[in-house]
Symmetry: C2
Subunit: 199 residues, 2 copies
Amino acid sequence: MKFSPLLDELIEQFKVLPSVGQKTAQRMAFHLLERNREGALKLSDALRNAMEHIQHCRQCRTFTESDLCDICASSKRQASGTVCVVESPQDVLAIEQTSQYQGLYFVLMGHLSPIDGIGPKDIGLDVFAGMLDDTDTQEVILATNSTVEGEATAHYIHQLCQEREIKTTRIAQGVPVGGELEYLDGSTLVHAFSGRREL
Amino acid sequence: MKFSPLLDELIEQFKVLPSVGQKTAQRMAFHLLERNREGALKLSDALRNAMEHIQHCRQCRTFTESDLCDICASSKRQASGTVCVVESPQDVLAIEQTSQYQGLYFVLMGHLSPIDGIGPKDIGLDVFAGMLDDTDTQEVILATNSTVEGEATAHYIHQLCQEREIKTTRIAQGVPVGGELEYLDGSTLVHAFSGRREL
């Protein structure tokens, strides 16, 4: 025991947060006790509510407290016939903020990673196959990250879609807007050249 | 609304923590939802318990859920006749870890800072004066930080003690153990010279 039992317990529990160690946990605990007890109580309630009620959307697997998330529940989106496959709910947010895409999503909540024992079922590809079979999907847009695991996952999903003769596309790889050629890595440049478009 | 209402609420509430903004709050929320719901529920309980039950020690003002903290409740410490004045509970921990000091503490929970409107009463100096009057204190050790505010606070407390003819000492300023002279600032060197001791 270092401080009082309840204070030690609070500091210990703060360490469940990512990249929070002993010193940061102490700083958080003292900050809340000294300056914002009301905020801390609200945080406590928000944590309990979120952990007890937030589930995965039945169709797209994103986090939601309803059976279907708002996007899946929209009939306009359902009628689009397009599904964009992403790795995380944050990716959905990033795409939604562009206001350009009006179709459905499927959130893998990760990527294939045999080395960590994460196979197709762990990222919900059985649910995804069911979704393809049940709905009238015209196009699957693969928007997994441009990492080795993301590419492997995209490749695997591409095969799933090929078996069902559904058109699959991969988001473009190339020079980011505002990017300068001299600082780009070689493989991005190779992609930028091979993916060039006629003006 | 960005995600679902409960998730947005959780992300919003995480921002009460020091140096946590939108992105870190999102990362914390998703980390707990995906990987550690049980830990999150424990954190929720620990927060509520701590905020509802932790008060200030009646005598030394540190955080405790009892009326008197463990140190103030110890009769051996009470008999020492020494009070060490520090700025925060973390300072108490740092001193306790040396196992060298066996007296009582008084925790200011801050320092005098007229510019922020923090006067003697806000750092409990009225409680401290009462403690001096009520108990048989032989020595007050001033262990506030070696900053401008810490020094000003130490000076103010020194005057309080002088009025009551109680011996006051200030912890030594000088070269830290392992410190190299060439990298020390000038004022620390001046203190190290003026505080030199005969061998």
